[in-house]
């Protein structure tokens, strides 16, 4: 299909990442750094090293995902007895005590969302590297979802923070943050950076080269 419209790159223009000003580039840019005349940020046609960076972050997050789920996130000491809970055992506890909605919230936010995010980003990376032209619109939509939904995984970190602050009743009961918490927070933060470093325009670039 021949397109009537051009992309910024095809028309040798560059769109600023932060303020979206369109600038014309005179010569094909090689090395030098371009600064946006309006907002002062560095301009790139595509996010720099997007694929490599995103891969690195996705792999790092995958590694951290394992200890995040194996180590306990809370250690409850009640009357001398200590009980350690991982994210999953917390979910199972909620199901067992009939609190389905909470179990669902924790399961979706802490287990499902991070893993889906990693799967989707991996899929997008592979599809971009193979220069796939398969349903670019849907792939862009997938990317949009990962970007929006990622932050909600932080909910478990906040729950631990609140529990730790509230339940501190000396010898009666205390709750401590477990060793899984830093790994889990790392997964959330790293996947957020991964989503930010991925450039969805790469999805459409494959189509462009095909048209030529």
């Amino acid at each position: 299909m021949k397109q009537l419209f051009l992309t910024a790159r095809e028309s040798s223009q560059i769109s600023c990442h932060s303020c979206q000003l369109l600038c014309r580039i005179r010569a094909p840019q090689k090395e030098g750094i371009l600064i946006c005349p309006r907002c002062g940020s560095t301009m790139h046609q595509r996010k720099p090293n997007s694929v490599k960076r995103t891969w690195a972050l996705v792999l790092a997050a995958c590694i951290f995902y394992i200890p995040a789920n194996l180590f306990p996130v809370t250690i409850v000491t009640s009357l001398g007895k200590a009980q350690a809970d991982t994210i999953m055992s917390g979910v199972i506890y909620f199901i067992g005590s009939g609190m389905w909605p909470i179990a669902l919230v924790i399961f979706v936010a802490s287990i499902l969302v991070p893993i889906l995010k990693l799967i989707i980003l991996t899929f997008l990376l592979i599809s971009v590297q193979r220069k796939s032209t398969w349903r670019p619109k849907d792939r862009t939509r997938l990317y949009r979802i990962t970007e929006v939904v990622g932050r909600w995984s932080m909910v478990d970190i906040y729950v631990v923070t609140i529990l730790v602050a509230l339940v501190n009743l000396g010898s009666l009961a205390t709750i401590k943050a477990g060793p899984g918490v830093p790994f889990f927070a790392a997964v959330v933060v790293i996947t957020m950076f991964a989503a930010m470093s991925f450039d969805p325009r790469l999805i459409w670039d494959a189509k462009e080269t095909l048209d030529e």
Binding site: Q20, L21, L172, I203, W204
Partner: protein, 200 residues
Amino acid sequence: MESFIACHECDLVHRVQPLPHKGVAKCSRCGAVLYRHKPNSLERTLALSMAGLILFVLANSFPFLALKMGSQIHQTTLITGIKQLYLQDMRGIALVVLATTILAPLAQLLGMLYVLLPLRYHRSPPKLARVFRFVRSLQPWSMMEVFMLGILVSVVKLAKMAKIVPGIAIFSFFALIVVLAAATVSLDPHEVWEKCEERP
């Protein structure tokens, strides 16, 4: 003069056209939102940011939850949780929570006021573009609404163990989330960027 905009998600160039009241311009190829018509964008966002700052101070000065167990009452503010984590040698986590629930929202509110207040009086503050860029980059890290969900989950989790009493700050939290979301929605960043351009 005609102006153009490239879609930030697929790079397709579009001509910028005036929109009807509350209209939305979407990319013809990938469907991403390019820009929206936002009536009184700057004034509304300024008002909401001011309200947000007041609520922010309230939300952080008073306890938002209290736990009653026998004769003991434990109150907590946002800071106590962060302090506890810090004392338990979870410094990194304490920092992440501090950054996402206190520093980022606060910097965002202050930054918005710094940008919008002078613009309201047709002045432009020094380093306008830089400050506004910084404020925009904080957006994904300000997680007040996620924290609110965290409060709800904790309340349910502890409900069996002890009596939970909501504090005054919890209402400020609720209001703050609504106000922050409204401020984000009402702001048209293109309008601010155009002001940056007008500067000599």
